[in-house]
């Protein structure tokens, strides 16, 4: 039973990191129709910035700096490539983000090398013992921070003028433009928000029990991709749900792997994709995604 409770808590922690990342995918997709494959490299950039700055600035300021840097770079990508290319097909732009990802990842990998960088987070390797249930401090912090950030995000999405512009523009760009909503500005802020969330996610991906940030941390972010897809690419609530499903599945698979040795090792890594495929067979637009509607 304690093992089960541990696995669920770990799954929730994992799910909340994925949620931070998946929301980034969804926000960008809603605002610009582009699936941002450069998201993983932006996340790596966020983590790298914290790793480089925390000695001089302390963890909190380093994190703040990383959030700003990553948001700025994400915004720059939007200005240079997404808006800068004007009326290019979104598919072309999506492929372009793969190119951006390769460039940014290569540069960061060159700088990181084979090191495992510490982010200097305050939770260190602390582990809490709740009646036999062991959980890392970093994971509790992760759940708390994610709940706060995602709560703030949803509140902004629902109640502010920015959120309303975002939802209106996602639904009908032309009608939104006719209302005087500035599509360019909405798109830019969406990329910035996605970048900022990715930087926070990087911290928790690198925190205990992970050893730290290494050049492959960005790739872990790709597990959030099936989360966004299975939730429905254009639904923020779907991304949240999908992330929890993926996080819990991955944790359960990894936790009970020894009982399923006939399936081979590392099942936890494959599980998100299996779940995604099963969900998509059942519901092609994802759990909460909207159907493509065309009215004549």
């Amino acid at each position: 039973m304690t093992k089960f409770a541990e696995i669920i808590l770990n799954g929730l922690a994992l799910g909340s990191v994925y949620a931070l990342i998946a929301l980034g995918f969804v926000v960008v997709f809603k605002a610009s129709g582009v699936i941002n494959f450069a998201h993983a490299s932006l996340l790596l950039l966020g983590g790298f910035t914290v790793a480089k700055l925390h000695d001089d600035l302390g963890f909190a300021l380093a994190l703040l700096a990383a959030v700003l840097v990553t948001a700025a770079v994400a915004g720059l990508v939007e200005v240079l490539f997404i808006r800068g290319l004007g009326r290019t097909e979104v598919h072309t732009l999506t492929i372009l983000t793969i190119g951006v990802d390769i460039l940014l990842t290569t540069e960061l990998t060159r700088r990181i090398g084979s090191d495992v960088l510490s982010l200097g987070d305050p939770w260190k390797a602390g582990v809490r013992d709740w009646g036999g249930v062991h959980i890392a401090d970093a994971r509790i912090a992760c759940i708390v921070v994610a709940v706060l950030l995602i709560g703030a995000f949803f509140a902004a999405f629902r109640f502010t003028a920015w959120g309303l512009s975002m939802r209106a523009a996602a639904e009908d760009r032309e009608a939104a433009a006719l209302m005087g909503i500035r599509l360019g500005r909405i798109q830019f802020t969406a990329w910035c928000v996605a970048g900022a969330l990715a930087a926070v996610a990087a911290v928790f991906l690198a925190a205990f029990p992970s050893a730290g940030l290494d050049r492959s941390t960005g790739q872990i972010a790709l597990a959030a991709f099936p989360a966004a897809i299975l939730g429905g690419m254009d639904s923020a609530a779907g991304a949240l749900l999908g992330s929890l499903v993926v996080g819990l599945t991955a944790a359960l698979m990894a936790g009970y792997q020894s009982d399923m040795s006939w399936l081979g090792a590392n099942l936890g890594d494959v599980a998100p994709y299996v779940v995604m495929l099963l969900v998509l067979i059942w519901r092609p637009t994802g759990l909460l995604g909207s159907k493509e509607r065309a009215r004549v």
């Binding site: 003028a161 032309e174 005087g180 500035r182």
Partner: protein, 277 residues
């Protein structure tokens, strides 16, 4: 031109690199009253409105020559947001309400363009006043304010689309085929609303295929044909011309012979009367 009039001069619009949708179109909409633009499918009516509202670029179109001025401000090539702020707001063809947002949110979205992101108390109060005016015009929207816009009927969606545009308190309202796809009774109601909006001092540029309705509402009308202004004049005159009657009012050629010169009573419009009522 100090008054708030829309002046379009020698407008030429091209889609992509080669498709010329408008050539040498000139028209003007005075600060008051209703002006109609008539024409068949593909005549360039919607293109004209897109050029005015600045949304051509969303359709890979651009103004190549000619100018659009509103109350002395040059609108040609400007951002749609700026055009909305200048007081020119378009109701898109086919209603295009935000189906997943509530009626209330749709109306709020209509106010975003003039309000900006950092809103003060005064802006919020102005939005409320505008909303109350929209609810006065369309009581049914007040009843359904919490409902998702996608669940409204076609006519109610058209009301919402007009109400949403009115939230920006426009001085000039552009309407693209407001009667399209509506039941005859609803067409009559929307026409009544347009008349009321005009009576409140908002200028209206109305694009319509339903010529009977359009000529009934408008003081002045232009007929577009393959991207060019073919006819222009007061609605009463246009309703009498052979060409309009034959092409758009579905009358036999024989009955309209020589009608342009001799003023005829409005009786010949009988066959289509039922669309108005």
């Amino acid at each position: 031109m100090e008054s708030e009039a829309l002046l379009v001069a020698g407008l030429e619009v091209v889609y992509g690199r080669s498709v010329r949708a408008l050539r040498g179109v000139s028209l003007d909409v005075p600060a008051n009253g209703v002006v109609a633009v008539l024409g068949a499918n593909g005549a360039g009516k919607s293109t004209l409105l897109r050029a005015v509202s600045g949304t051509l670029s969303l359709h890979r179109g651009a103004v190549t020559t000619g100018t659009i001025h509103y109350g002395g401000t040059r609108l040609t090539g400007r951002d749609p947001a700026l055009i909305v702020r200048a007081g020119v707001v378009q109701v898109p063809e086919g209603r295009r309400v935000f189906a997943n947002l509530s009626v209330d949110e749709n109306l709020q979205a209509g106010a975003l363009g003039t309000r900006g992101l950092g809103q003060g108390k005064r802006a919020a109060a102005k939005t409320r006043t505008n909303r109350d005016r929209v609810f006065e015009l369309f009581p049914v929207l007040a009843e359904r304010r919490a409902q998702r816009a996608g669940l409204l009927s076609g006519g109610e969606q058209q009301m919402l689309a007009i109400g949403r545009a009115l939230m920006a308190a426009p001085r000039l309202l552009l309407l693209d085929e407001p009667s399209l796809g509506l039941a005859p009774m609803m067409v009559g109601r929307i026409a009544g609303v347009i008349r009321e909006i005009a009576a409140q001092g908002v200028a209206v540029l109305l694009v319509e295929q339903n010529v009977t309705v359009a000529l009934d509402l408008a003081d002045k009308a232009y007929v577009l044909d393959v991207g060019e202004v073919r006819l222009a004049g007061s609605s009463a005159d246009l309703a009498r011309t052979d060409e309009v009657r034959r092409l758009y009012l579905g009358e036999e050629e024989a009955t309209g012979a020589g009608a342009a010169a001799v003023p005829t009573p409005p009786a010949p419009r009988k066959p289509l009367r039922r669309w108005v009522e």
